[in-house]
């Protein structure tokens, strides 16, 4: 097993441990850039939310809190199964790893399915900013702005989810080919970091978009 791991050390690293630590560090730095990437949107959202609390509340009232909560639960569960997948890779249980990866991907797809159902409902309600937006109440442009941020941020999040599913597909392929062992499972851990990070972003999106609309 140790030999197998050593064979996978790239030539510019001296030890597998150095490689694992470096890759983990690189992944976390990447996640820090992702924090700033979404962070810019959160800042812009906060500014406008502060100025237009009524209009943003009105926008929030258009959210389906039940679907949103279910979706959050789905995503948290997928994060859990992903963490368990990483765990099973670490203890060298490839069959459980394969199973958990598939479950995680399925949950990711369920999330996306529910999300696109919501989009479709908003579309039916004429809540597509710019092209298909129809709102008769006061401060329409600010309500529209809420939806701009809603689509932009959840859309970007959904894009990250789709990328995540793609990454898991690759990991799944490698897991089924038997690339991972108790000595070498860094790629699974990296994918797990990414997946859980996307979950974290969603937890905040859920808080700012879904939970504010019931008392406008």
């Amino acid at each position: 097993m140790a030999d197998h791991a050593a064979a996978l050390v790239r030539e510019h690293f001296s030890t597998a441990e150095q490689q694992r630590e470096t890759e983990t560090l690189g992944m976390w730095i990447f996640l820090a850039t992702e924090v700033m990437f979404f962070g810019g949107l959160f800042v812009a959202f906060t500014v406008y939310r502060m100025y237009y609390p009524q209009a943003f509340g009105t926008g929030s009232a258009g959210m389906n809190i039940v679907l949103g909560s279910i979706n959050t639960a789905v995503l948290i569960t997928s994060s859990f199964t992903m963490a368990m997948a990483v765990h099973s890779a670490e203890v060298g249980n490839p069959r459980l790893l394969t199973l958990l990866l598939i479950v995680t991907m399925l949950l990711g797809c369920i999330f996306l399915g529910i999300k696109f159902t919501e989009y479709y409902q908003h579309f039916l309600e004429h809540r597509m900013p710019g092209v298909w937006f129809d709102y008769a109440g006061p401060a329409a442009s600010k309500v529209q702005m809420f939806f701009v941020f809603y689509y932009f941020m959840t859309g970007l999040h959904a894009l990250h989810m789709i990328v995540g599913v793609g990454v898991l597909l690759v990991i799944l392929g490698r897991a089924m080919a038997g690339s991972f062992s108790a000595g070498y499972s860094t790629p699974v851990a990296m994918a797990g970091l990414y997946w859980s990070f996307v979950d974290i972003i969603w937890v905040f999106l859920f808080a700012i978009f879904y939970l504010q609309g019931l008392h406008v």
Binding site: R10, E11, H12, F13, S14, Q18, E21, T22, E23, L25, G26, I29, F30, A32, T33, E34, M36, F37, F38, G39, G40, L41, V43, A44, V47, Y48, Y51, Y52, A55, P129, G130, V131, A139, S141, K142, Q144, M145, V148, F149, F152
Partner: protein, 541 residues
């Protein structure tokens, strides 16, 4: 050292593999550094061409060659190309890429494939931007201020912004790679305080790459979104606030200025000790000041907004921070000067560039103090004073250091010496031409000449003519190195592993280095710039 010299020349990184594919698919940091080197050189001359046209146009008050539409596109494309496709990748992605693994005794960067990907992403971004340029150009200014960029401009804003968005990911990849490499790949014995200052500065630069670039990416994405779908994010007609765009844009773009100058400081911090044969004065202060610039540099962006509609109290906070960030820069200048005192000063070309950098950066930095003073900024902001200020930093500072660095490491990169006499002459030409171009612009700005004007009142003509005259001299100064460096690549005399008798690890391997950089991983036992301790090896004294 003797063992490395014995390595046959045939196996260096340039000759180990042949053919175009061996370059396009390389994961060798040195080759990728060279790929970047060729690309940014090309972009530099494209951006420079726009600058020449602008300066020619401004010879007369009404303008001589182009109409205002074209002039506006010229300064926009000059800014976009010079900032994002030359200055930001210039030193880090070429010299940094080439040297960081060698300086820390590693075989390569931590993520070689990511490094290659960053070059492709950079080129893709460049291609998209150039495509926007060929389609008809952009006229928003490199700052893309809304609502002009989102609603009123009729040019190819989305194309240009998308190109910058894409190339931003190359910065992020480079940053991640550098940080991980510097943390995890150092040779045995190479502690943080034995690192060359070059590494410290690039570490600080990478922090900015990683933490600031994503904000620019998301901001430009919002601009594209707003422009494509005509929805309100920054547009006041739809409830948006254009000043928010400026906040987000400068949250990236002010730290980006430090992305340009920190690597320049890195280069100068290498050149001055070597050509003075003296360890850098106050190593700890110089090292920490790089990190301080990177961190405090994130707290000052609002000084671009003093007259933009920002609150007065917020402006005061940003002004205060701006003065704080000037302190580490001042410390560096004092330390560099002190390094030279009682040294053994050579007048080789890299040192001439470093001394030129010192003078021009000092002027550029000090005029920054004028701009940070709230009451003064009101008058001089958005005038030629600002234009002169940032050109002193970015051209007088970053480009001078870049040229100095290219000359200093040219023997290592190519294995050949450049023609010293010609190089000194061109360094002198660059220095004189630069000052003649940009010093008059300080005066213009003080007199009230606003920037981005295609035509101007008659009383400013004399100074504009001076500036254009200087630009033509500066142009010669930039073309000369291009010619003789190409010549030297083929015909220069062999440099040997350590022509400058420098102390850094990169000089302890062959020139050009072998693909693996070192035959055996070096073990470091000394601090950086330890001429005294290495005098036997370097045959000094």
């Amino acid at each position: 050292m003797s063992t490395t010299v014995a390595v046959p020349v045939e196996t260096n990184y340039l000759t180990e593999k042949q053919g175009i594919l061996s370059w396009l698919l390389t994961t060798d940091h040195k080759r990728i550094g060279l790929l970047y080197f060729f690309s940014v050189t090309a972009f530099f001359f494209v951006g420079g061409f726009f600058a020449v046209l602008m300066r020619l146009h401004l010879l007369t008050p009404q303008g001589v060659i182009v109409g205002p539409e074209t002039y506006n596109k010229l300064f926009t494309m000059h800014g976009i190309i010079m900032v994002w496709f030359f200055l930001i990748p210039s030193i880090p992605a070429t010299l940094g890429n080439f040297l960081i693994p060698m300086m820390i005794g590693a075989k390569d960067l931590a993520f070689p494939k990511l490094n290659l990907a960053s070059w492709y992403v950079f080129m893709l971004g460049g291609a998209v931007t150039l495509w926007a340029l060929v389609r008809g150009g952009v006229d928003t200014g490199w700052t893309f201020y809304t609502p002009f960029s989102t609603t009123y401009s009729t040019t190819y804003v989305v194309g240009a912004a998308l190109g910058i968005f894409i190339s931003g990911f190359s910065s992020i990849m480079t940053g991640i790679n550098f940080i991980a490499t510097i943390h995890r790949m150092r040779a045995p014995g190479l502690t943080w305080f034995r690192l060359p200052i070059f590494i410290w500065s690039h570490y600080a630069t990478s922090m900015i790459f990683v933490l600031a670039t994503p904000v620019l990416a998301i901001t430009l994405l919002m601009v594209c979104f707003e422009r494509l779908f005509q929805v309100g994010i920054f547009d006041p007609a739809l409830g948006g606030d254009p000043v928010l765009f400026q906040h987000m844009f400068w949250f990236y773009s002010h730290p980006a200025v430090y992305v340009m100058i920190l690597p320049a400081m890195a280069v100068v911090s290498e050149i001055i000790p070597v050509f003075s044969r003296r360890p850098i004065f106050g190593y700890t202060a110089v090292a920490y000041s790089s990190v301080a610039i990177a961190v405090v540099g994130f707290l000052v962006w609002g000084h671009h907004l003093f007259v933009a509609g920002e609150s007065v109290y917020s402006a005061m906070a940003f002004s205060f921070m701006s003065y704080l960030v000037a302190i580490p820069s001042a410390i560096k200048v004092f330390n560099w000067s002190a390094t030279m005192v009682k040294g053994s000063i050579s007048w080789d070309t890299p040192m001439l560039y470093a001394i030129g950098f010192l003078g021009l950066f000092t002027i550029g930095g000090m005029t920054g103090l004028f701009l940070a003073a709230l009451g003064l900024d009101v008058h001089v902001t958005d005038t030629y004073f600002v234009v002169a200020h940032f050109h002193y930093i970015m051209v007088g500072g970053a480009v001078m250091a870049y040229l100095g660095g290219v000359h200093y490491w040219w023997p290592k990169i190519s294995g050949k010496m450049y023609p010293e006499g010609l190089a000194r002459l061109s360094a002198l030409i660059v220095f004189l031409g630069f000052n003649l171009t940009f010093f008059p612009q300080f005066v213009l700005g003080f007199l009230g000449m606003p920037r981005r004007y295609a035509a101007y009142p008659d009383e400013f003509q004399f100074l504009h003519v001076l500036s254009t005259a200087g630009a033509s001299i500066l142009g010669v100064g930039y073309v000369l190195p291009l010619c003789y460096l190409i010549w030297a690549w083929k015909y220069g005399k062999e440099a040997g592993p350590n022509p400058w008798r420098a102390t850094g690890l990169e000089w302890q391997t062959a020139s050009p280095p072998p693909a693996q950089n070192f035959d055996t991983t070096p073990i470091v036992t000394r601090p950086a710039y330890d001429f005294e301790g290495m005098k036997e090896e370097l045959h000094l004294g």
